[in-house]
């Protein structure tokens, strides 16, 4: 009942926030187009049509075509599938490892906590993007490699946030009382502590998504990410860059898509953080 009214309150605070409404609508459209966009288009993302290369946006090619005559409308929505998949999977992986690590560390306390947090400190000092570049160079390209590389150091932020939440919650009376009636540590962690720390966890997850999307686009832009003929937004911006003088739509459309997606997730994450802030709950 309380949980219910808390989430209802948070939802009200969220949708009364203009930027958050904008972000939710944009993301809804993006998700819908990522699912249905390639289906409603008559072309496939890799279908080459050389006589019709570099045509500007028209009734035939809604977003124009590229240097091999591939339909950009189809490719953009394929790119959306890749970007959204990577963003959400990376955020979930980071969250799973980070929540487990952070909550176990906070709940155990003492020497275990100290050791687990020192490991975090050491990994945190290692520059994220360099690790990602190094791993993709060594393991070869592909979505799986990108995800592994991003998760390697990406979970630490979540672990720290989760730990600080649980440290505060751990001292609450309802935890003492559930321990007094003999609840196991696992039960206390998964049924009492983590559900009550869900606000900051969700906000942090939402803010992880744009970082992951950026990293994928960055790697693909460098030629380390998704390989041709698959369509990633980073690859499309890179191709568009060399053609921008005569065929500007090939640069502007994918650039706008990356920006819009990252903007929406950032706005939503910030709004969620405000809406779910425990200080406002009282």
């Amino acid at each position: 009942m309380l949980e219910n009214s808390y989430s209802k309150d948070a939802w009200h605070r969220l949708i009364s926030n203009g930027p958050a409404r904008f972000a939710l609508w944009t993301l809804a459209i993006l998700f819908a187009m990522a699912i249905f966009g390639p289906l409603i288009s008559p072309y496939s993302y890799s279908q080459i049509n050389l006589p019709l290369k570099n045509t500007p946006p028209s009734a035939q090619f809604w977003f124009g075509s590229d240097e091999l005559g591939r339909d950009l409308f189809t490719r953009i929505w394929w790119g959306a599938r890749i970007s959204l998949f990577i963003g959400i999977t990376a955020a979930s992986l980071d969250a799973t490892i980070g929540i487990l690590w952070g909550s176990i560390s906070a709940y155990a306390g003492g020497k275990t906590d100290e050791l687990m947090m020192r490991i975090c400190d050491v990994l945190y000092a290692i520059p994220y993007l360099l690790v990602v570049i190094l791993l993709t160079v060594i393991r070869g390209t592909g979505i799986c490699t990108i995800l592994i590389a991003m998760t390697c150091t990406g979970w630490i932020n979540m672990a720290r946030i989760c730990r600080s939440q649980i440290l505060q919650l751990k001292e609450m009376e309802y935890i003492t009382s559930s321990r007094a009636i003999g609840a196991s540590p696992r039960r206390i962690l998964f049924f009492h502590l983590i559900p009550n720390a869900i606000g900051p966890i969700v906000a942090t997850m939402t803010l992880t998504v744009p970082t992951a999307i950026f990293t994928e686009a960055f790697l693909s832009f460098l030629g380390l990410g998704i390989q041709a003929p698959a369509a990633s937004w980073g690859v499309m911006v890179n191709d568009g860059l060399s053609a921008m003088r005569y065929y500007p739509w090939r640069l502007l459309i994918p650039a706008a898509m990356i920006t819009l997606t990252m903007l929406s997730f950032n706005l939503l994450g910030n709004a969620l953080r405000d809406a779910l802030d425990p200080r406002l709950r009282k």
Partner: protein, 312 residues
Amino acid sequence: MLFYLSKKALILLVSLWCVVTGTFFLMHAIPGDPFIGEQNIPKEVLDSLYAYYGLDQSIWAQYLKYLKGLLSGNLGVSIIYQGRSVNQFIREGLPISAQLGLQALLVSIPCGILLGTWAAMKRGGWQDWTAMVISTLGVSVPNFVLSSLLQFFFCIQLHLLPVARWGSFEHTILPTLALSALPTAFIARLTRSNMVEVLAQDYIRTARAKGLPLFRISIRHGLRNALLPVISYLGPVSTQILTGSFMIERIFAIPGLGQWMIYSIGARDYPMIVGLTIFFSTCLMVSLFLVDILYSLLDPRIRVIQPKLEYA
């Protein structure tokens, strides 16, 4: 204080060792070796090549040799550019990258502070809104998108500035802008939230009650306290500028270190990738460490509180 310092220094050393060891063994886990793939090399030549690069020894012997080299400042040799060492590339590229990074810092720190203070002073007004839109955009537009757009509008549409390459001051304007966007947005956000917090304090209310004008209070009492954390942003900001330089230098064809990093990735020049990764990581980790120390020297509150509440 001494305890705090030595703990931080220990963490730094362990992290450095992790990077060095991790990169070394990852590099050796790659199947094949740098000389396979070229046309049939006689076995004798291969053997002497292995002996020359020390590849005929056991992996532990190679590791120790590599560590010894690193400790004397030798980052290894490039395989693609015969006979050139990573140190040479750093000597050539670093001054250019450093100039670009410094210019970006000089733009982003004042702009970010100004934008953040302005937003906090007029909280809720259109000024606040504008500043936050700018900073949200700054965080959301990837640097490679921003630099391509800058090139598109300023060079190709308006013909105002050179598209790329390195030479005169005009060549540095667009790269500096592109590089400073993210740090500016980041600093503006943090300054705003600090400033909002500081302006709600009792001593600000006292100053207002004395009848001091809001502008003067914000600058003399507010900003001074709100700016202290700016020093702690310098750590993450230097990271953003460094990784940003990879893209910016590639797009604007600037012969800095970031550009060499991208080249070596493209050419799969493993010793160079590893050497540059270690160099970049060391720079970043040491600068984060220095920022930490500077901050704890300047703000006495940190020294007392942080060892206990570091993560709370």
